[in-house]
């Protein structure tokens, strides 16, 4: 009994400790805090540190930036796979990482929770204002990695669906599948009701959103625009004429002190990177298992940017 009581106390203490640790983790802790050797800006901007998220598609874009800069004669250090935004943004802001492929909408959401812009231009303009002084957004690209309301091609044909507003024509209430947080996003079911007057159910299909759509468990699925499935499966994204969904275009975020110097290398990449380019590079990565380096080198060659 004594030991049982002790272990119960230990459990309570453990819970409290775990909570404290978790909370501390939400603060400013930062896996890259140790002084990293050769961090670009202090050495007169000779070495440019290019970072990427722990996301294969983002790494491909970072690889394109890195190779293009190398080809243009810059010394480049790669810091890829640096987790998610919470983990890397402090280092991008402080200049430990000089160039990072980002997504306009998602980054704006991170920097300014109250932002209301949704169309690509508005989001980009709002992002430029929201960025700290140490950072500059270079030109954004047409390629995006943003939420969509996607249906199977067959379902779209059978019901004559083209835009999100057409979902109101259905006799039964369609169910929207997506990540758990979509339920709370402004472009979730509540947003569809407000902006398009469409009633939607919700199912938190998370990682199996595509499978759930193909299995017919949900009729509408939130699939990211850069998803390889747009090339490999018979699915189609519904149009969003009222810009309900937050636009999230690929945008290079650079340290302000080197932004102008690398703009002539990076901006042509943004101009050349189309929506289909990103999807097809993601297919090469997931289906053909090609490495990010090879995919990036091939794309630069195709576009004559090497």
């Amino acid at each position: 009994m004594i030991t049982a009581r002790k272990s119960r106390l230990a459990l309570a203490v453990g819970v409290a400790l775990a909570a404290t640790l978790a909370l501390a983790g939400c603060g400013s802790s930062n896996p890259l805090d140790e002084p990293s050797a050769g961090g670009g800006t202090d050495k007169g901007g000779e070495t440019i540190v290019v970072g990427s998220q722990a996301y294969y598609s983002n790494e491909i874009i970072a690889e394109i930036y890195a190779q293009a800069l190398e080809n243009a004669g810059f010394t480049v250090e790669k810091k890829f796979n640096v987790g998610q935004r919470d983990a890397y943004m402090p280092d991008v802001e402080s200049g430990k990482i000089n160039l990072f492929p980002e997504y306009t909408g998602n980054l704006l959401e991170y920097l300014d929770k109250s932002a209301t812009a949704t169309s690509p231009d508005d989001v980009y303009a709002a992002l430029q204002k929201a960025l700290p002084k140490t950072l500059k957004a270079l030109d954004y690209s047409k390629a995006s990695d943003q939420d969509t309301y996607t249906v199977t091609k067959k379902f779209a044909q059978d019901n004559g669906l083209e835009s999100i507003a057409d979902l109101a024509k259905l006799n039964t209430k369609p169910v929207l599948g997506g990540a758990p947080e979509l339920e709370q996003r402004p472009y979730g079911p509540a947003g569809a009701k407000k902006i398009y007057d469409v009633d939607l159910g919700f199912s938190a299909t998370a990682q199996s959103t595509l499978e759930s759509l193909l299995a017919g468990q949900v009729q509408v699925a939130d699939i990211y625009t850069a998803d390889p499935a747009f090339q490999t499966k018979d699915i189609v994204a519904l149009k969003d004429p009222k810009n309900m969904i937050l636009a999230s275009n690929v945008v290079p975020i650079a340290s302000s002190d080197i932004a102008d110097k690398i703009a002539k290398v990076i901006n042509p990449i943004s101009a050349a990177l189309g929506a289909e380019d990103l999807v097809s590079m993601n297919v090469q990565s997931t289906v053909d298992q090609a490495s990010a380096e090879d995919i990036a080198a091939k794309w630069l060659k195709e576009k004559g940017l090497d």
């Binding site: 009994m1 004594i2 049982a4 119960r8 459990l11 309570a12 819970v15 909570a19 978790a22 909370l23 939400c26 919470d86 991170y110 929770k113 990540a179 758990p180 947080e181 339920e183 709370q184 919700f202 199912s203 938190a204 299909t205 998370a206 990682q207 199996s208 499978e211 759930s212 299995a215 468990q217």
Partner: protein, 247 residues
């Protein structure tokens, strides 16, 4: 501490008490998955554990199997099963995961309960002419009950804590506020979900602790609630007395 008050405020907000993800619904889902999983696990583990405890055979196998089962990471197993069984079978995948999690504790509780009984008690029962079934139901079951309830208790706690990951595969439960809150960076919501799971686990643990105390047969119950190793010997002696009385 600010976050704690925010979390409490989140819990008390009427918005959390209605709709598809109302807190009572989530609690119900959490308890339902816990109950189903522990019941299924009990239906498998208890007969097996009793058989091992009664016959004294197969103990090594049980130890090996339950040891291996304890080492399986639940989250990985859940995702693997969802991939193998398909998205239409996620509830089944989840129940299998939680059942495998609950089995080791239940199995151990069942056979150690029997093993802890003084062999002389069993021998005495056999000597006075009890059948094996009578020994099982009248001697081993009651005397093994406290340790069995202990096994159920730890299985329930582990399952309650782990059902949280069910929200990752669209099964709701009290993990939902946590899993939805992290990408939204709403840490009041995340903390509120974590608090709910912790409180539920503690409540169930208290309930089972009381049940565990009540499960000690009257004959071997010691006068003082704080039993030490020496009074445990007394307990054994009185257990023998109890066995002779039952016989």
């Amino acid at each position: 501490m600010n976050l704690f008050t925010d979390a409490i405020a989140w819990l008390l907000n009427p918005a959390q008490w209605q709709g598809q993800y109302a807190l009572p619904t989530l609690l119900g889902q959490h308890l339902l998955y816990t109950a189903i999983s522990v019941l299924v696990a009990a239906a498998i583990a208890l007969p097996a554990g009793w058989l091992i405890g009664h016959t004294g055979k197969g103990r090594e196998i049980a130890v090996t199997v339950s040891g291996a089962a304890r080492a399986v990471p639940s989250f990985g197993l859940l995702i693997l099963l969802v991939l193998l069984l398909g998205v239409l079978q996620t509830p089944l995948a989840a129940v299998i995961t939680f059942v495998l999690l609950a089995i080791p504790s239940l199995l151990a509780g069942a056979y150690t309960g029997f093993e802890a009984i003084d062999r002389r008690v069993i021998d005495a029962a056999r000597a006075v002419g009890m059948t094996e079934w009578q020994i099982f139901t009248k001697v081993e079951l009651p005397l093994g009950m406290p340790l069995l309830v202990g096994g159920i208790r730890s299985a329930l706690l582990q399952v309650i804590a782990t059902v949280t990951i069910g929200a990752y595969v669209n099964l709701g439960g009290l993990g939902w506020p946590i899993i939805q809150g992290i990408p939204l960076r709403r840490f009041d919501q995340v903390l509120a979900g974590a608090l709910l799971v912790a409180v539920l686990a503690l409540l169930v643990d208290l309930l089972l602790a009381a049940l565990q105390r009540a499960a000690v047969p009257t004959g071997i119950r010691s006068p003082s609630p704080d039993r030490t190793s020496s009074s445990d010997r007394n307990g054994r002696r009185s257990a023998r007395r109890a066995a002779s009385v039952t016989a």
